[in-house]
Symmetry: C2
Amino acid sequence: MGRWEPDAAGRLREAAMALYTEQGFERTTVAEIADRAGVTARTFFRHYADKREVLFAGSEELSRHMLDALAAAPPSATPLEAVRAALLAVAELFDGRRDFSRRRQAVIAATPELRERELHKFASLATAFDEALRERGVAPVVATLAAETGVAVFRVAFERWVTEPDEPDLAELMRATLAELAGLTASAD
Amino acid sequence: MGRWEPDAAGRLREAAMALYTEQGFERTTVAEIADRAGVTARTFFRHYADKREVLFAGSEELSRHMLDALAAAPPSATPLEAVRAALLAVAELFDGRRDFSRRRQAVIAATPELRERELHKFASLATAFDEALRERGVAPVVATLAAETGVAVFRVAFERWVTEPDEPDLAELMRATLAELAGLTASAD
DNA sequence: CCTGCGATGTCATTGAATGACATCACACGT
DNA sequence: ACGTGTGATGTCATTCAATGACATCGCAGG
């Protein structure tokens, strides 16, 4: 480690979250974030590719966790059952982080640019799901649909989790949302 | 209209498509696009909010068309049946535009920034679907799921349409994809 | 003929993002 | 203990997206 305060990336993340919350994403400059973190703007870009990415650092961990769970599902599992396992496995990652998640979602919801980036992350996740399912031998189109649907369930359940006033269980919301999905196609062709 | 060549927005769109195709999105500057269209860079931003938006001009028309079809579905239709009507209705908008769609998709696929914007457009569409379904009296969570699923079907079918070598019928692909969706949840809980 | 309005041009500015190069403390081998 | 290299950072310069303020000009309508 260098001659400076350690964990510059962490300090930058904290500073960005605080400033985005206080004054909004657009009216926060990278220079401000860097100042508060005690580094220069150039250093900000050495840790995060752009001004948005600072809020999406943990997303690879999320993907990895879900893909591990998906890979661990028995070969006999249907595509949706495998997806279900991945969804339930990832729920535990958010244990005790509901407050942080809510603050983060508030910032993202308030900023179109950040919503775009979030969508991109979810799309990457869906693509990864898609590929993983195909490697399990699932037919291409079915794999894509299962992946997209699975991500949609994640988003719906997650949104309920951060929105509802009382503290619900994320895994339980995942199960409930999956159940609603099953009901959706029951009566249509 | 003014003293200049008419349809500046159209010329800017053509110029942008051409340059994005020739040299890629990132290596194309707004100044170049404006030059080729015979206007100044400032004028570019009067017609399009940013460098990406020039490729997504027709998306409101798309939304409108689908929402009209959704509103026209009989009240007795299930959520997914209403979504199905919207999907089939919009297919005709793409009649004869497959070549253009392919070129456009090629540019978008090659550029992460453009993929993000595309995702945002789809998300807006899903939100509009969601609201329209709720206005039909569909329960909130079910409406969201139906909307997200419907958009996923659109994307899958559209991707097949621009990807497959022989010229398939988009509406037919929509039906086929919906059928696969129905099969997906048949065996899972 | 005049006048207002709309579309454009011109000018200036901010801020994101990136490349090139300098710097400096710590770790490591000798 | 003494170089020395390496990695994280600072400094400087630059490009380009995006936006605000103001001028211009010609057509439409009175």
